[in-house]
């Protein structure tokens, strides 16, 4: 479900607070745009069904 702009602003501000980041008003519009874009890519990824055995590729060997 897509957040409204107000919801997205609140969400971004909450995420920023969670990592000790003080977002200035100058940054906010650009950060919102980029967060929305990343959200679209995350939606795509969320469609994929993983087996429990599929581990993250941290020690990655191609």
């Amino acid at each position: 479900m897509k957040e409204s702009q107000t919801d997205l602003t609140l969400l971004v501000q909450a995420r920023a607070a969670a990592i000790g980041l003080d977002l200035s008003d100058r940054c906010l519009p650009g950060v919102l745009t980029n967060t929305e874009l990343l959200g679209q890519y995350a939606d795509l990824l969320n469609r994929h069904v993983f087996s429990d055995e599929c581990e993250p590729a941290f020690e990655y060997v191609p």
Partner: protein, 458 residues
């Protein structure tokens, strides 16, 4: 366009070894070219004039004493502005790192090239912290495409591609996280190699996204590209070019579906011509390419954001605002999304390994949709919609970044317009297969570099 190409790296090394030219003469001519002609494309950010001349003199002294010269003795090269050069501050296209101490030593791959006799002469422009496909840098300016200065050079290693395309340098280094070697190589019409993830050492190359970053070379011919790759790979000898016909035993296929849509007419013709020349009749479809691209994008955003978060908290306004806002959004990406992207990478790795096991040795795909976009109209068409080129030039490169496979950008010579590049993709560690096909195409006159009007002479 002119036909007369400047000498390549190996050709220059031979002329120095045989005494036809001195290393000093070659380096001075290169520095003069970069000083006088680069203003037309703005690929250079710093020249190492004194150090380069000193190293050239050392090469000439070695030859005078009758000692054997290493394989690239006296050959000038440039580096993307994120490789450490001893005694210089590495800025990574930013002003944020300007007060850092100078590098104590060269980046590992620069060390290996220097040990082979090559001489770093310049740092080359890039998108700030390598986060972009345009080489439009708020601090150091925009690099222009040497073939048409009203068009994009591509990025983020745009200075490295443009300097080689213009004939200013025979060789340069770049880095590729989502396409930063392959996109500028394609738009500027030079050879560019994104090696297998993890194969070349990254020490001394300023990081962006550790899960995906690789370093690699640009060159004007495939022999120079392969030689520089094998030297940076730590080999003590450069393999001979493949014998004629050795490519014929390879199973070559064209990637379809995702990689066949959104192409310009010239790119369609280029793909068809190259596939016809290689007798390619098979097509291969990779699964879930859109998610592979998304995962690459998300991992990059999260790791890049995390890397810069401490500095962003202190001096966000010192960043290019566009870079800053991308990094900030990435830094706040939920762990769930990042972990899913890393799990998807594991899954996608299995799929692409199956393709190389069961179906093909080399896969062919476009590097970008078509010719370089105009700087004042930076758009491409995706899904019938006109969209930002800066955000979408990685459409075909990002999915292939995720599995870490080696990808060679091949500059095709089948159209008379602006440069077009194809991606040749192999299984991990199989760069030699890419070179075998590339040598055949170069010999057949189907791939190579054309010289633009602003070209330099070394």
């Amino acid at each position: 366009m002119r036909d007369l190409s400047p000498p390549g790296a190996l050709e220059l090394a031979t002329s120095i070894r045989t005494g036809e030219r001195t290393a000093r003469d070659v380096v001075e001519a290169t520095l003069e070219t970069l000083s006088s002609k680069d203003r037309s494309i703005h690929s250079v950010t710093h020249l190492f004039s004194e150090e380069a001349c000193r190293q050239a003199d050392a090469v000439d002294a070695l030859r005078k004493r009758g000692e054997t010269l290493p394989p690239l003795a006296g050959v000038p090269f440039g580096v993307k502005d994120l490789f450490d050069i001893a005694d210089h501050v590495t800025t990574a296209g930013s002003i944020v790192l300007r007060s850092n101490p100078p590098a104590k030593q060269d980046a590992a791959v620069v060390q290996r090239l220097r040990q082979a006799g090559a001489i770093p002469v310049a740092t080359l422009n890039m998108d700030e912290f390598a986060y972009g496909f345009a080489t439009e840098n708020a601090h150091y300016g925009t690099t222009l495409n040497p073939h048409d200065t009203s068009r994009m050079a591509g990025g983020s290693s745009g200075g490295s591609a443009a300097a080689v395309a213009a004939g200013f340098l025979p060789l340069s280094l770049g880095s590729d996280t989502n396409g930063s070697i392959r996109i500028p190589a394609s738009l500027c019409g030079v050879w560019g190699l994104k090696p297998t993830f993890g194969r070349l050492p990254r020490e001394g190359a300023y990081p962006f996204a550790a899960s995906l970053d690789v370093v690699g070379p640009f060159a004007r011919n495939i022999s120079d590209l392969a030689a520089s790759f094998y030297i940076m790979d730590g080999g003590d000898r450069i393999p001979e070019p493949a014998v004629a016909g050795s490519w014929e035993t390879l199973r070559i296929a064209r990637l379809e579906d995702w990689f066949a849509d959104n192409l310009s007419e010239p790119m369609v013709r280029a793909l068809e011509s190259v596939c016809a020349a290689l007798d390619v009749t098979r097509t291969v479809s990779l699964p879930e390419v859109a998610i592979a691209r998304a995962s690459s994008f998300l991992i990059t955003a999260a790791e890049g954001g995390n890397l810069h978060l401490p500095r962003l908290k202190e001096q966000a306004d010192s960043y290019d605002p566009a870079t800053r806002d991308r990094l900030l959004a990435g830094a706040m990406l939920p762990a769930d999304t990042y972990l899913k992207a890393q799990r998807f990478r594991r899954w996608f790795r299995e799929q692409i390994h199956a393709v190389f096991r069961d179906e093909a040795d080399v896969l062919i795909a476009p590097a970008v949709m078509g010719e370089a976009p105009k700087l004042d109209e930076p758009t491409v068409t995706v899904g019938g919609k006109v969209v930002s080129a800066r955000a979408n030039l990685g459409l075909f490169t990002q999915p292939l970044s995720l599995p870490g496979v080696p990808v060679l950008t091949v500059p095709v010579l089948v159209s008379k317009g602006l440069p077009l590049g194809l991606q040749f993709v192999a299984a991990p560690g199989c760069e030699d297969k890419l070179f075998r096909v590339a040598w055949h195409l170069e010999r057949a006159g189907l791939a190579g570099c054309r010289l633009p009007k602003c070209a330099g002479t070394v």
